[in-house]
């Protein structure tokens, strides 16, 4: 059903963002502890990166139907 597609996409988005945020947080903590003397900024950086990646993935997923494939020719109408 086409109406269920959006819901599925959004679910995927949330799952993906949870994963990415968690991974970012984890990596941030690791780096902060190991390399950067327990500053907070690597954690924030990792979280930010995770959030950014999740955002981009979600957006691409939602945009997928509107992308023009390379094997499809686009004909522009002359005005």
């Amino acid at each position: 059903m086409s109406e269920k597609e959006l819901g599925k996409k959004l679910d995927r988005c949330l799952a993906d963002s949870a994963v990415k945020l968690g991974a970012g947080l984890g990596l941030g903590i690791v780096f902060s502890v190991v390399f950067f003397k327990r500053h907070t900024w690597p954690v924030a950086f990792g979280l930010g990166m995770g959030l950014g990646m999740a955002y981009t993935n979600c957006q691409n997923d939602l945009r997928a139907p509107y992308l023009i494939q390379r094997n499809i020719k686009v004909i522009a109408k002359r005005q």
Partner: protein
């Protein structure tokens, strides 16, 4: 603004610090800082915001002044900005207007008809007056006088006509020829009609009526064309000749005048005794007159030659016209000939006048020469005797001596003697001279007489010939009329004769018929009766046979009708089965596959093409999977609607996550009617997602799935993608329902058709 924020943050931080710290001094400092800071910061905030807003507005106005497109855009998007712009900049320049090129009206060319209609009358009067003057001057001669007047009048008419537009013909000639052609034309069709009447009666096959009429019409047309061309030719020639002749006559008159004047002046110069200087002026005047006279004589001579050439040309044209031998043109030819004749007469008379004047002038000049000679001789003699005396010796009596006087007297006496002797000689020779002069005069008179007689004869001959031709023309017309009446009489006599003959024939045939034998009549009567009996018997037999045939056919058709009815019933049953399967849909599941029922229909109406076609027209999905009911579609629609509202803002250009957020926000904040009646025609603003969804909800609630599907089909972008499946299902359902309804309607119709009325 950032600095203000920073300052604000600083002040907040300091406040916090100050709160923690404790000494009074920093508190005071803080207080002063905070109060000062807050006051200045508020003022600065206000000032900065005012500056920003003012800068923005000013910049917008400046740019709008420079770029009219930007101005238009701003006016469109921000309400009341057009008024602000109008106040600040003045009204916007309107777009350039292309003017259509003005159509140039055609110039009206005014007709010349008014011009020459008005001027015709006075000019005619003028020329007639001028023509009458030569009459008074010319030497009176009885016969030429009349012709001269007529000729002048006619010439005046012609001149008045040709003076303006050349296409207006001379009135005299035109009227003359206008009357005969209609008369001729009238005569010819009457004769043609008569001829066709004659052709019907006799048994001889002649040319058909139409052909004769056509040929006659052709001939008439050809004649008419020739006539018009001829008349135009004649008119042109007449016109030109008249002009040239008048010119010649005028030139001759001028020559006459010049000669007369010269003669007069010469005589005056001879007889007057004037002092020497006046004499020289007189001689000079005389010379001028002489040159004038020679010039005008030459001119007159040239004009006469030209006129004679034109007259010959006209004669040639008239001869050519005569060769064509058209009856209708004769009067015009006659008139032209008369004109020609009169012009010739005119010209001759004027030429003779000039010649007499010239001979008179010669006499006068000879006389003047003689006188001059005598004077010169006398002068010479006088000079030889008294050389020192001047010409006018009358006033010099004191200067003369005795001897001079004596010699003068002696000379005078001698001269007188000489004169007397000469006189006596002259008297003697006088008689001889007179005789010879008389002889000569006689000869010359004879010659002149001969010439005059010959010209008069010529003129008379011409006149008589013209009269004769006129008479011939008249008699010809009379003959034509007589012939026409005779032909008419003949045709009438023919019709009477035929009528009589027919009457006689009728009588004869009738008597023959009545002589037939009465016995034969009886026999024919009997035969007729038997024939009638046979006929009626045959008729009865035919009727019985027809009835038998009718009954057989009725029985057969009854069988066929029953068969048809059975088939229709079968079809109807199978269609009902199909309808029933359609109703088996559960709320969210499709119906059973329709394949079985459709198969049954196909079997039940194997020969019915329409039903077969319809049965195959069902979509394959419905056969294999079944279709959703309207109720399930309706329920599903509400979920679709919700989703479509949420993604209303998303399409190919706007599909970032931020746009999704905005779209959700819009769906939350925008309220539209749950159901709204769709208008009969959708306008551009009705194509908004929310409106379309409310229209579709309304139509669904009122059972119109088709309209709802149409409206949903108008969605665009992500909303459309979301509703795609629903739309497909709706289409399937609608198709199937349509086909099924068609089938049931058809089955009903067939059933009705095969039902026999009780």
């Amino acid at each position: 603004m950032l600095r203000v924020c920073l300052k604000g943050a600083n002040s907040a931080a300091r406040k916090c610090l100050c709160g923690n710290g404790v000494p009074l001094h920093p508190l005071q400092q803080c207080r002063s800082y905070t109060s000062g800071g807050s006051g200045s910061s508020a003022g600065k905030i206000v000032a900065a915001s005012v500056l920003t807003v003012g800068g923005g507005v000013g910049g917008t106005i400046l740019y709008a002044n420079w770029d009219p497109k930007f101005r238009a855009n701003v006016e469109k998007s921000i309400p009341y900005s057009d008024q602000v712009f109008g106040l600040a900049l003045g009204p916007a320049a309107p777009p350039p207007v292309i003017n259509k090129p003005r159509k140039v009206e055609p110039v009206q060319i005014s007709s010349m008809s008014e011009m020459w209609k008005d001027s015709k009358q006075p000019k005619a009067k003028e020329v007639e007056k001028k023509a009458e003057q030569p009459d008074a001057e010319g030497p009176p001669a009885p016969a030429p006088q009349e012709t001269l007047e007529e000729a002048s009048a006619q010439v005046a008419q012609i001149l008045s006509a040709i003076g303006e537009v050349p296409s207006v013909p001379a009135p005299g000639t035109h009227e003359a020829e206008a009357v005969p052609p209609p008369a001729a034309l009238k005569g010819v069709p009457a004769a043609a009609a008569k001829c066709t009447e004659c052709e019907h009666e006799p048994a001889v096959k002649e040319r058909p009526e139409g052909e004769v009429a056509a040929r006659l019409a052709e001939q008439d047309k050809a004649e008419q064309d020739l006539l018009t061309s001829l008349s135009s030719n004649l008119e042109d020639a007449l016109g030109s000749t008249a002009k040239v002749t008048l010119q010649a006559i005028g030139a001759q008159e001028a020559a006459l005048q010049a000669i007369a004047q010269h003669t007069r002046q010469l005589r005056e110069a001879m007889e007057a005794e004037a002092p020497p200087d006046k004499k020289s002026t007189q001689w000079r005047v005389l010379e001028d007159a002489l040159s004038e006279r020679s010039r005008s004589v030459d001119e007159a001579g040239a004009a006469v030659l030209k006129a004679k050439a034109e007259l010959d040309k006209l004669r040639g044209v008239i001869d050519g016209a005569k060769h064509l031998k058209i009856a209708a043109a004769r009067p015009s030819i006659l008139a032209a000939e008369e004109n020609l004749h009169s012009m010739v007469v005119d010209l001759d008379s004027v030429v003779t006048r000039v010649q007499t004047a010239q001979s008179e002038a010669k006499i006068v000049s000879q006389y003047s020469e003689l006188v001059n000679e005598a004077k010169a001789q006398f002068q010479k003699e006088l000079n030889s005797i008294t050389p020192e005396i001047q010409a006018n010796w009358k006033g010099l009596t004191g200067k003369l001596t005795q001897d001079d006087l004596n010699s003068l007297i002696a000379h005078a006496h001698r001269r007188i003697d000489q004169m007397n002797r000469e006189l006596a000689e002259q008297r003697v020779r006088e008689q001889i001279h007179i005789d010879s002069a008389l002889e000569q005069q006689k000869l010359e008179d004879k010659k002149a007489l001969e010439v005059a007689v010959s010209t008069a004869l010529e003129h008379n001959r011409e006149q008589m010939r013209l009269e004769q031709e006129k008479k011939v023309e008249e008699t010809r017309e009379v003959m034509e009329a007589e012939m026409r009446t005779q032909l008419r009489r003949q045709a009438a006599a023919h019709t009477d004769h035929l009528r009589d003959v027919l009457k006689v024939q009728e009588q004869e045939l009738r008597s023959e018929a009545e002589e037939a034998n009465p016995e034969q009549l009886k026999e024919t009567e009997y035969r007729r009766l038997t024939q009638d009996q046979l006929d009626s018997f045959t008729l009865d037999m035919n009727a019985a046979y027809a009835r038998l045939k009718g009954m057989e056919e009725a029985i057969d058709s009854h069988v066929i009708a029953e068969e048809e009815a059975r088939k229709a019933h079968q079809l109807w049953l199978s269609v009902e089965a199909l309808n029933y399967t359609l109703k088996t849909a559960a709320l969210n599941d499709p119906t059973e596959p329709l394949e079985g029922a459709v198969q049954a229909i196909k079997e039940s109406c194997a020969e019915d093409e329409f039903a077969q076609a319809l049965a195959t027209a069902l979509p394959s999905e419905s056969l294999s999977r079944g279709v959703y009911s309207e109720a399930s579609l309706r329920a599903r629609f509400y979920a679709i609607r919700q989703l479509a509202r949420r993604v209303a803002l998303i399409d190919e250009t706007r599909n970032s996550l931020y746009q999704y957020f905005l779209s959700y926000l819009q769906a939350m904040l925008l309220f539209e009617k749950a159901q709204e009646a769709p208008p009969a025609k959708l306008s551009a603003e009705d194509l908004d997602t929310f409106k379309l969804l409310s229209y579709a909800a309304y139509s669904l609630e009122h059972g119109d799935l088709e309209l709802a599907a149409k409206l949903v089909n108008q969605l665009k972008g992500e909303s459309r993608r979301v509703a795609q499946d629903w739309l497909k299902e709706a289409r399937l359902t609608l198709e199937t329902k349509q086909v099924v309804s068609l089938l049931s309607a058809y089955a009903n119709a067939v059933g009705l058709g095969t039902t026999m009325a009780p």
